[in-house]
Subunit: 367 residues, 4 copies
């Protein structure tokens, strides 16, 4: 399905960077959910460029509800949220449109859309499309939170600079997730954050860019959710996480590290207090056989450095079909990983809400 | 969708380890494809336990076509392939059924299926279910090969022991893929393979198990395939790769390594000879914006060590709801990664065929 | 989706008349449902040719469960049921395969499957494919019945000969549905049934065939089920009812008769006893805006006369590409409408179970 | 799927009568289609209330393209079209909101959406939602027309008053379809049309309303399109036609009339001129086994009388849970069937385009 995700809670995404507007339709929401518009704004704000290490471009993404909301509550019919692309200048893109930007989607868009794509600002591939995703994710996050589920993402590392890890203790992990909800630069260790920002500034000064690894934890998610094949929790989450522009890797639990472990180290042993069952470790990230086991979910995304850099790059001029040098103009983020974390949270919430709704029925989310 | 995958070429998987049979239905095949049954057998053979480092259990998986095949050619109607589970002994599982095997799906199956799951031999979660997947994959691989697309997987590393890398040169890569099609233990460097087997034997002697990393290359795949969101090539491949039991990580191109690179290193620059466009590097694994760029696709899966080990493990007896020690009996693979590579090839082919069929129409695959 | 139906409870159908077997996979069943195999047999028996007015061909359709059933109960994983096509003679079809049988799918199969279709006995288009549908429907009917929902179909008319109508009173309607469950020839009025059978015998004596109208009632189905657009109850039911070979019309409530009514006659007025809300008439067949209103559902299917008749027919020889006369040999039903009623019940149950599962979650069906 | 239709060309509908806007997202369009905005306007105009027999409410439905259109051509990414609901007065609905309007969806909306539905003007159930459907349909119709496919609908009968039938001759049928494209009141026989309008006026004078039967013909549609089960052409068309508010019956070819025919009359015999194959009659409406046979498609929809009438009606006050009399105020159409024909054309085009795209690949529609 093209630009549509979900079986029970379906999300339909549309828009281009410079089209009149971009937006999202959510199908399958229960009726009667009082939307928390302050929370929606806070989520969108996490995505906005800010601070010294972000683009200075001003984006005031205001969500307008076209349908599905009545007296502040969901009606149960399709909820359409739109963000206008006001005051976009299009002319800038005309002269460089034939120069393929490395690691952008210019060339693949050309192959797929045969020259008809909207090339301004990346078109449908623009990072701006994550704004409606964050709006949809805010709805999903709110619903899951009303069920006690907490979701949060930190920068596990940036250009190799590590943050402190998520705690194995639930109480402490909950505290960490609360913290991440409040800070603009999502790290658990402020000193690590400072070093990261410094590295970004240095790269920016060179006209370069940096990436990193995002790590997401989900706390209090019910066990028994997911499918053995094709719709495993890993399958569904990775399908969505790989829809975040710039993600090139997704791993769960010990992830790629598990490949160098012995079974006796990798296996998560079980323990009980006579009432509940827990695992003593989390090499499998809270998922066995594609199904949640009731422990915290833990996974990571590799985010590549922003493709737009100011250094000269070798490329191809598609119109002339010859080699050329590209020097990118304009304002671009030297790193987007700190802004991407709220997109990871949003994608996570959408995938998990869909799986829950399928199991419990969609009225479950209403109360 | 539960145990169903695909939009244009749909695969429906069914079966348990000890049910009368397991199988797969493929919808959306073009009519008139002469199935290569020898190739099908060879593919199933790659998955079979063999050599010293595999279980001694004898599996003679014979595919029976129930429908969709007439005079050796596909009819265009649903193709059903079934593998009987002959001569399975069920009694063994009764006495240990309440002891949760660590890193298996026993506990999550209990949560999801409420005690009604077929617990014998892992039931629907058994690695045996990959046999019908390999059968379906053989059909997809044959079709893609008839279009010139080559797919192959090697063990990039096992317990940290590295194989030689895939070549960046297409001619050499093609030779490597041909080689992998012929060898039982899928490595590019025979010495590395010998060291890997030795490590597995040593682990087996300790009653332990090992995992590794599988790396897959796809050559001559057309550009312009995939979708920007939700159905990106990465999304679709990872959805299927995460349906291989034991996979805990999936990465494309430079993968997690890209997180420590600068943009100027990570960006894949473009070059042309006046006719075709290529990238000079492959940090993005042949995929930009979710869409193939015509370069070889490159990705890796982290495969965890086989969960069934012979060392005593701490676990929970669900019936008594108390802590217990588990000592696993029977014959189990100390490593399955060499057998899993054909599953990776199969899943890859199914995902890519589906995407091609959607773009070109399903008659495309016929001729 | 090809040969797959359903969002929450998904049915995947496969098989040809003369392929080794035909069958069905049901995804999304709750675990723990004790299947009533006697009921399953009774349902299949309703579909079997019997009496003077049916083909004398002997079909002993035995369902074999390949997966998803353990100790007599559903596991919650895909349930695969298979019916072998034993002892089918194929040679008969060779000589007439180029002669298009009027009102059969010979010609359209040729257009779609490009000559690769299994032409023996109608192949995938055979009425035999309704046997696995009845098997799947029996599971759905059993589940709905456990929730108090009753479904039954009678021959409203055959070659214009009318049966007595369904009662507007629920108690009487329930009695009628019980009666239909027990009789081989599904009419409410035995005299009408006798006249219908006589008409069929007369047509058979002429080498001709007859059709009729099936009318289905669903009692005690919950209100609030269905969607305003695309997945309205009418949309879903008609999608499935039009998958019954020979159905050329589907109408709800007053159906086509409503087109000649005034609004003041057609509108179903509401009435209450202070506790429940009912309609005083049923022109809308229990469905408003695509959603059930809690009243009995009422709809009809037009079933065309069996296309296989013994009178000479004008047709085309596709091999010679010239006009030809066709005289059909073999044993064929002069009417199938009395056998089709259980297919209508089955399709109805599958559509309604899917809609219920989506609303209530799939565990709902388990208990 | 909720408010989403299609496998290859997917349509996502949203909006309420009095929400800020309503709209539609179309996924899966080929890139490069120059949209004919004049045609779009003409289609929307056919749906607008006009003449003496329509409501005097003024609707100036202007389509705004939010995405997927660049320089007048489709980009291949999701196309979002929005129609603002300007100047709607909401206050009127407050006082009568607890009085269930017979044959409207007030009561079923209450059951499904638990009182959270937007009750103003019918909310998501409003006939206004057909405006974005007509907009989407205009895109599909334009594409099909570029392939030579013609689609048209006339009022076959209104309150029993019959129009002239569609011609069996293709040249004449083509002329009829051209005529229908031009007239405001879609009949083939102007005298019949005059009698119909008179009947509507008389009903309106009584405060009553009328319905009728729409008949649609599709000319030059390719053979071999459709699926044997679940996605038969009849299944797909009826699924969409039953999403037109007020449709209570759908039949193909001879439809319900076929139930009183003998096989020898009902069968469509084949004839050839040595080059092409045709049927001599059209009892099956151009569809055999769910698949098109290359002949014109022919089908009919029963449209019920407009539910909003001015005569007093018995109903229930849901707030008081007691019986009440309802007298509907405001301006309402005494008949909508002449406006509904363009909705039938639109739904038909959407269903057929989806089926074509699946077979031929989505680039087919581009050229």
């Amino acid at each position: 399905m093209k630009s549509i995700f979900g079986d029970s809670v379906q999300v339909c995404l549309f828009g281009e960077s410079h089209s009149p507007a971009m937006g999202v339709v959510i199908n399958g929401l229960a009726p009667g959910i009082q939307l928390d518009l302050d929370f929606l704004d806070r989520q969108l704000d996490k995505r906005r460029p800010k601070g010294r290490i972000s683009t200075q471009r001003h984006e005031t993404d205001q969500v307008r509800f076209l349908s599905g909301l009545f007296n502040g509550r969901t009606t149960g019919t399709p909820l359409c949220m739109v963000i206008e692309n006001s005051a976009q200048k299009s002319g800038d893109y005309e002269k460089t449109r034939h120069l393929l930007r490395p690691s952008h989607a210019d060339y693949t868009a050309q192959l797929k859309y045969l020259g008809c794509q909207d090339y301004r600002g990346g078109g449908h591939f623009s990072g701006r499309l994550t704004a409606p995703i964050v709006a949809a994710g805010a709805v999903a996050l709110q619903i899951l939170r009303s069920k006690g589920v907490l979701i949060g993402t930190h920068i596990q590392s940036l250009y190799g600079i590590p943050d402190s890890p998520f705690s194995q203790e639930e109480a402490e992990l909950e505290r960490q997730l609360d913290l991440l909800d409040e800070v603009a630069f999502p790290v658990l260790n402020p000193q690590a954050g400072e070093r990261m920002r410094q590295a970004v500034e240095e790269a920016a000064a060179e006209g370069d860019s940096l990436g990193g690894v995002l790590e997401t934890a989900v706390l209090h998610f019910p066990g028994g959710i997911g499918e053995p094949f094709f719709c495993s929790v890993e399958s569904r989450l990775s399908q969505l996480l790989y829809s975040i522009p710039a993600v090139k890797g997704v791993e769960f639990g010990a992830g790629f590290g598990i490949a160098a472990m012995k079974g006796s180290d990798a296996n998560d042993e079980f323990i009980t207090d006579g009432k509940t069952v827990r695992t003593t470790t989390s090499s499998n990230g809270g998922i066995n056989g594609g199904i949640t086991n009731g422990m915290p979910l833990l996974f990571r995304c590799a985010v590549k450095p922003t493709p737009s850099i100011y250094k000269p790059q070798q490329t191809v001029d598609l119109a002339a079909m010859e080699n050329a040098e590209l020097i990118i103009q304009g304002r671009h983020d030297p790193a987007i990983i700190h802004r991407a974390r709220v997109v990871a949270d949003s994608m996570t919430a959408l995938a998990l809400l869909d799986l829950c709704s399928e199991r419990f029925g969609y009225l479950w989310m209403g109360g």
